[in-house]
């Protein structure tokens, strides 16, 4: 049911069409989101509640300084796929390929994407542990069934110890188009010199968008 009365008005003022129904599945808040929130929320950093310290430098509205792009909405979208390897690649003695799925239906058409950072965490088998450099990540659009579309992105990976990041904006969809409702990608990670394999432990997407309806030009500073 629609939220009654003032709650509905406040939701609308916050640019949300409805309140999430029921309690969300408990899941830890990704550290990157905590960091962005703490840096971004002036009330968190304020010295006394309710007052912006005089002379405080104004943050540019609608800009995510930490990520260096325009934006006023940051979403951490978990992978909805099964991350199971694609069987035929394993059967051929190659390393697994994985399908990852991101549900982006919550993004409204008016929102302009400014950053789409794929983050992958790999867990290496014993044999691959410690093999540094010379990995290559390839990303392709998933096609119907278990088909694989054209390769969208190839990227060298130096280390598996830290999350592997790849920028999808401009690769998985072009800069000036709106965000697709969902994103199905096929990933593969190969080592150029050996036949070592790894498996994908976690995949997520950090999506930054700008909703111009919630942006106001920077208030004229006091002359």
């Amino acid at each position: 049911p629609a939220a009654p009365g003032p709650a509905a008005a406040l939701l609308q003022a916050l640019g949300l069409c409805d309140a999430p129904q029921g309690a969300p599945k408990p899941r830890p808040v990704p550290p990157v989101m905590w960091r962005l929130f703490r840096r971004r929320d002036p009330q968190e950093a304020r010295v006394s509640p309710g007052r912006t310290p005089p002379g405080a430098t104004l943050r540019r509205p609608c800009h995510v300084e930490e990520l260096g792009v325009a934006g006023n909405i940051v979403r951490h979208v978990p992978d909805r796929g099964t991350r199971a390897g694609i069987p035929e690649s394993a059967a051929a003695g190659q390393c697994s390929r994985w399908t990852v799925v991101f549900d982006l239906s919550a993004v409204e058409p008016t929102e302009q994407p400014s950053r789409a950072r794929l983050e992958l965490r790999f867990a290496a088998e014993e044999a691959a542990m410690g093999i540094e450099g010379d990995w290559e990540l390839s990303l392709a659009q998933a096609a119907e069934g278990t088909g694989v579309g054209p390769v969208l992105l190839r990227q060298a990976v130096v280390s598996l110890g830290t999350p592997v990041r790849a920028e999808l904006l401009g690769a998985a969809w072009s800069h000036n188009t709106s965000v697709p409702r969902s994103l199905h990608l096929v990933l593969a990670l190969r080592h150029r010199a050996t036949s070592a394999c790894v498996h994908l432990a976690e995949a997520s997407l950090l999506l930054v968008t700008l909703d111009p309806r919630l942006c106001h030009p920077l208030a004229r500073l006091r002359r």
């Binding site: 999430p20 007052r51 106001h216």
Partner: protein, 119 residues
Amino acid sequence: EADPVVGGGPGGSCRARRLYVSFREVGWHRWVIAPRGFLANYCQGHCSLPATLPGPGGPPTLNHAVLRALMYSAAPGAAGLPCCVPARLSPISVLFFDNSDNVVLRHYEDMVVDECGCR
């Protein structure tokens, strides 16, 4: 939660009053991760002279507001007093789970009244 205005009525000259918006009160505490609420504050108070005149460190005053206050003191029936409204506002950020279980950080401009002014 709001500060009670002493003695009823607008209570003194135009200034920001404390108003805390609690997400629990609105029933959003299950899906809003942080903050629990925020100090939105509100403006209330008289805009008659001398409150309408610029004070040290206060927000810039519109000449028109001073003109109205002068007119009001000369002929109260002609036009009302200027209004006590937000003159400087700050943003807030809200971290929450959306319907698709994404963790979302949204930034909202002009959500907290820092200063009030007569307009």
